[in-house]
């Protein structure tokens, strides 16, 4: 596993991460489908987004103690 934290100290990578991690087309697991602007169906898409942990690792953000995610 790469030492992503050390590698993150590159300004180009950080500029990329700044955009790619939470900008652009951002879609969650749920959408509302409508016809003629009337909201009809509420759909749970099977959209897999990485966990917050993965994103933090890529950003090189430290794991604060309070961050233990319950399993």
């Amino acid at each position: 596993m790469d030492n992503v934290i050390a590698e993150s100290r590159d300004v180009t990578l950080l500029e990329i991460l700044d955009r790619v991690l939470d900008k652009g087309v951002v879609i969650s697991g749920d959408i509302i489908i409508s016809l003629a602007e009337v909201d009809l169906i509420y759909v749970g898409l099977k959209v897999l987004i990485s966990s917050v942990e993965t994103m933090e690792r890529l950003r090189g953000a430290p794991f604060a103690g309070a961050m233990e995610e319950p399993t």
Binding site: M1, D2, V4, E7, S8, V11, T12, L13, E15, I16, L17, D18, R19, V20, L21, D22, K23, G24, V25, V26, I27, S28, G29, D30, I31, I32, I33, V43, L45, K46, V47, L48, I49, S50, S51, V52, T54, R57, L58, E69, P70
Partner: protein, 263 residues
Amino acid sequence: MTGMNIYAYAIIDSIVQFDDCITGMEGKIVFNIPYRDIGVVVSKFGEKIQNVTKDHVLKHEEVVEKLMRRFTVLPIRFLTQFSHEEDVLLMMQAFYNDFRENLDRVRNKVEFGVKIIWSGVKVNNHTMVACRKSDTSIRFLGSSPSRSFVKEKFEKYKAHKEFGEEVERYVSLIDDFFSRFAVEKKLEKLKTDKLLLAASYLVEKERQEDFKDAFKRARKTLGDLKFLLSGPWPPYNFVVLSRKTDMYDKKSPCWNISSEGEI
């Protein structure tokens, strides 16, 4: 159909299939799934991507930028994956109007990022000293605890206000160099004490060089500031979706209040 994973890179303004092979993450081929007159560019994986590293990030960005050379693109957030093809189409159906509108808006345009660091702390101290010197004491005669309390609060308030005005002045000064070459902009002021400005500008492709020249001029003129320019990027900061998204964003602590240890 278990174990299928469709990884999405971007929405493009085209239904064509790619003649040449574009390889995406983990060596998988990148192809276009058309929907009406637009498409979503994806790769198929056997299962969810394991051990995400910076190489995945770089590869993702590389694919999007390659697409940007030939098409109008709306970049999709990193690691957006679908486990059913139907879901991809449902997504396209739900967001078609948004995508269509955004594609039309960003056609032939690129994003540039400008970041500015200043010696913010020095400026703030100077402002506070200036405020202390001004005649706040007249308004606060007497020395009861509540008066001292208010006096202190007021001094802080004034300093904060002056500081805010200074920030506005600087940002406006900087923005003046760039905004005339941009069709849209997004300015974030003081994200940290030192990061005076983090700006994104949507610039027409033909005006790229003008924009870069403006950067050089700004950097030369405002010598006491530190400048960063990045780009051209796909229009990450200029995609606007009207529908509710990210309802279950794990970053939002609101969801933790009533839960009993989940999320």
